[in-house]
């Protein structure tokens, strides 16, 4: 690492230039002078984040005439077994259509009917929220163009490694490293918006290829770790992300594209066993049961479709999101028209875009740290997906602007010098210099392989306390093992820092899962030692935080009163995913609570 670095001061730093970060930076720049909003991107904004190669549709479009914000809030409450801050879900839903119209105006092409209406499809269990974007391959290009037009200052190939916090707990900036030249970066700011994506490099893909992940492998859980070390609470971490994917390829099949055109999931006998292909924990549990029964494996079936429908599906799947699907199938000698596509269950990750594991945020995108905001896959607004990321990017920017306008002011007992923080800066500079000076040592990829293999061994559901305690001990040991890792280039230094993020996320996943002694969210938190859902004790959020001694701790937090009440029957609807009469023998299932509360209990026992 070079000794010299840069030190700058801005108003707002957005960390991560993907879906959420793009809209956050553009929105913040509208109100601030040029140069006062900085967008940090570990890769390059033109091809970064989950939608680097575009997206084939919006999974949660709330469009008048097709659904209402209230219906959407109900759907997500059901899909997430009641553990949602409905106000945060509603804040998204109420702005969803505005964001779609803004994207439409930016040139994003949505599928429309002959009369020019948005062509919304039903994929979820109850309502219709899927808006196809068959030409969505240029979505990131459009976002990049809008970033350029807005005048946002962009630093590509700069990675945030730690956040700066003042003695009063307020956010004070970002520390980082340029991953090309290794220069140390000090960025002082009053507001920071984290948009770092999922923890997508947590479990190890079954192929053994470290970067063969479902998520963009740049999304290594950076935001989870940055927020945690800055003192922010994380929540729902035990509600893992586990997806049904094309086996080995480890990408989506994709149910939201193929479903509306007649494709569906079948077992080895060619029979359907789930009624809805929408990705929920309950669906994944049925998928898991089928996969591990005599009826496994599980397949995506398109062979019954007309040739022109297959062509249409290929036109989307082989151009957008993960276009190399085409060469994967060709390499195996398979095609959608003649063959079933073998599916499997992904390794675990953390992601609120698909499930509910993330940094705790409210309906304003605020974390528990003043001046720190989070949006997108890393921020816990359950099942928030791409459109939720872009919407919450804007929400966070507006909150940050309001915070700046209110004037965070000088910290108690000191002036601006209280935010100089030389000790934090020196400590981080030393932490980043050490692996570069170590000489011989463990390469970051070997360290990462081992931690992620242990994640598979001990955390992949179904979960038990015995297994997870073993895993936790090994993740604690891995903290010490980081001292053996060396980096020979700035690129390896990036991987070293990511390895630390991955280890932090592994510890979070173990601790949160151990704390919640019940089963919930189907496969996502399926505990063999506590197989029942227990609303009496566990109708609560589980928050992780760094305690006064600097240790990772867990606590319960009540679910806020619902703004959209649910009936008992509605609460249970996601447990009617399986096609009646198809349950494989001898497979343990989680049953829904016999009398689920239709609203959160008013008192929560600690």
């Amino acid at each position: 690492m070079t000794e010299e670095g840069t030190e700058i001061e801005v108003d707002v730093v957005v960390v991560g230039g993907g879906s959420a970060g793009s809209t956050a930076a553009i929105r913040a720049q509208k109100e601030l002078p040029l140069g006062r909003v900085l967008l940090l991107e570990k890769a390059h904004v033109k091809r970064s984040g989950a939608i680097a190669i575009g997206m084939d549709g919006l999974n949660n479009a709330v469009i008048p005439g097709h659904t209402t914000p209230e219906q959407y809030v109900k759907e997500i409450t059901m899909a997430n077994d009641g553990i949602v801050d409905q106000r945060a879900v509603l804040a998204y839903a109420e702005r969803s259509f505005d964001m779609i119209q803004q994207l439409d105006g930016w040139g994003v092409k949505f599928q429309k009917t002959g009369t020019g209406d948005f062509d919304v499809k039903k994929v979820h269990h109850n309502g219709s929220y899927v808006l196809p974007m068959p030409e969505g391959y240029d979505l990131k290009k459009i976002l990049t163009r809008m970033i350029r037009r807005s005048g946002v200052r962009v630093s590509n190939r700069v990675m945030a490694t730690r956040l700066l916090t003042g003695a009063d707990g307020r956010i004070a900036g970002v520390l980082g490293v340029n991953v090309r030249d290794g220069s140390f970066q000090v960025i002082r700011a009053k507001a920071v918006i984290l948009c770092c994506g999922a923890s997508g490099r947590l479990g190890l893909p079954a192929s053994g290829y470290l970067f063969g992940t479902y998520e963009n492998p740049s999304n290594a859980g950076d935001g989870y770790s940055l927020a945690y070390h800055a003192g922010a609470a994380l929540t729902g971490i035990e509600c893992f992300q586990i997806n049904p994917l094309i086996k080995d390829y480890n990408g989506p099949a994709c149910a939201y594209v193929t479903g509306p055109l007649g494709g569906h999931t079948v077992n080895a006998q060619g029979h359907r066993f789930i009624e809805s292909d929408y990705w929920s924990g309950q669906m994944m549990l049925e998928f898991y049961r089928e996969l591990h029964s005599v009826n496994g494996p599980v397949y995506l079936k398109l062979t019954h479709l007309a040739p022109e429908t297959i062509t249409e599906i290929e036109r989307v799947l082989h151009r957008t999101e993960r276009p190399s699907r085409g060469r994967f199938h060709a390499g195996r000698g398979h095609g959608y028209a003649a063959d079933l596509v073998e599916m499997h269950i992904s390794e675990i990750g953390l992601c609120s875009g698909h499930s509910a594991s993330g940094v705790a945020v409210n309906e304003r995108g605020e974390t528990t740290v003043p001046g720190l905001y989070a949006a997108g896959d890393m921020a816990c607004v359950p099942h928030n997906y791409l459109l939720g990321a872009m919407t919450y990017g804007e929400i966070c920017a507006e909150s940050a602007l309001g915070y700046l306008q209110a004037g965070p002011g000088a910290p108690a007992g000191g002036g601006e010098e209280a935010y100089e923080l030389p000790e934090q800066i020196d400590a981080e500079r030393t932490r980043l210099r050490r692996p570069m000076e170590r000489g011989a040592g463990v390469p970051p990829h070997q360290y990462e392989y081992k931690v992620r293999r242990l994640v598979n061994d001990y955390l992949q559901p179904p979960k038990t306390a015995n297994r997870m305690n073993h895993g936790l001990a090994l993740f604690e040991r891995a903290q010490d093992e980081l001292d053996e890792v060396s980096a020979t280039t700035p690129h390896e230094l990036m991987r070293f820092v990511e390895a630390g993020f991955i280890r932090d996320c592994a510890e979070m996943a173990a601790r949160a899962s151990l704390y919640r002694t019940e089963s919930r969210w189907g496969l996502y938190h399926h505990r063999l030692d506590y197989p029942e859902m227990d609303d009496t004790s566990w109708f609560v959020h589980v928050d992780l935080y760094k305690d006064a001694a600097g240790r990772m701790a867990a606590r319960k937090r009540p679910v806020a009163p619902y703004v959209v009440p649910l009936g008992d029957e509605e609460r249970r609807s996601y447990y009617r995913i399986r096609v009646p009469g198809t349950a494989p023998a001898g497979s343990g299932a989680v049953s829904p609570p016999s009398s689920p509360p239709s609203s959160p209990p008013s008192e929560v026992s600690p």
Binding site: A43, H44, K46, R47, S48, G49, A52, I53, N156, R157, V179, R180, S207, G208, Y209, L210, F211, G212, T213, N216, P217, S218, D248, Y249, N250, R322, P323, S324, R327, F328, G331, R332, A440, G441, V442, H445, E484, S486, H491, M494
Partner: protein, 94 residues
């Protein structure tokens, strides 16, 4: 076999404190660059890669895959103005 009865415990202690040694390994990598078509001085694919696994080869001045870290996302292949790149599915995956 050993004359020292507790040789294993002696070596076990040594193994915990001894330093590190390295070796080199060969990897079959998935990003293939046609050097005849690749333009010297062009950085488009290197900028595009979300995991920064591409680099200019000091030997040839052309792009090459430096780190075996590929998401097979095709950003480099799609963005190359000379169609010089072919991305294969990594061997472990294909």
């Amino acid at each position: 076999m050993s004359q020292i009865p507790d040789r294993e415990s002696v070596k076990a202690a040594e193994a915990r404190t001894v330093g590190h040694a390295q070796t080199t390994e060969r990897f079959d990598v998935p990003v293939i660059v046609d050097e005849k078509r690749c333009i010297s001085g062009c950085h488009i694919c290197i900028d595009s890669c979300p995991v920064d696994c591409l680099s200019v080869s000091p030997a040839t001045g052309k792009a090459h895959m430096k780190f075996d870290e590929c998401w097979y996302c095709l950003a480099c292949e799609i963005d190359c103005p000379k169609d010089a790149i072919t991305v294969k599915i990594p061997f472990l995956v294909r």
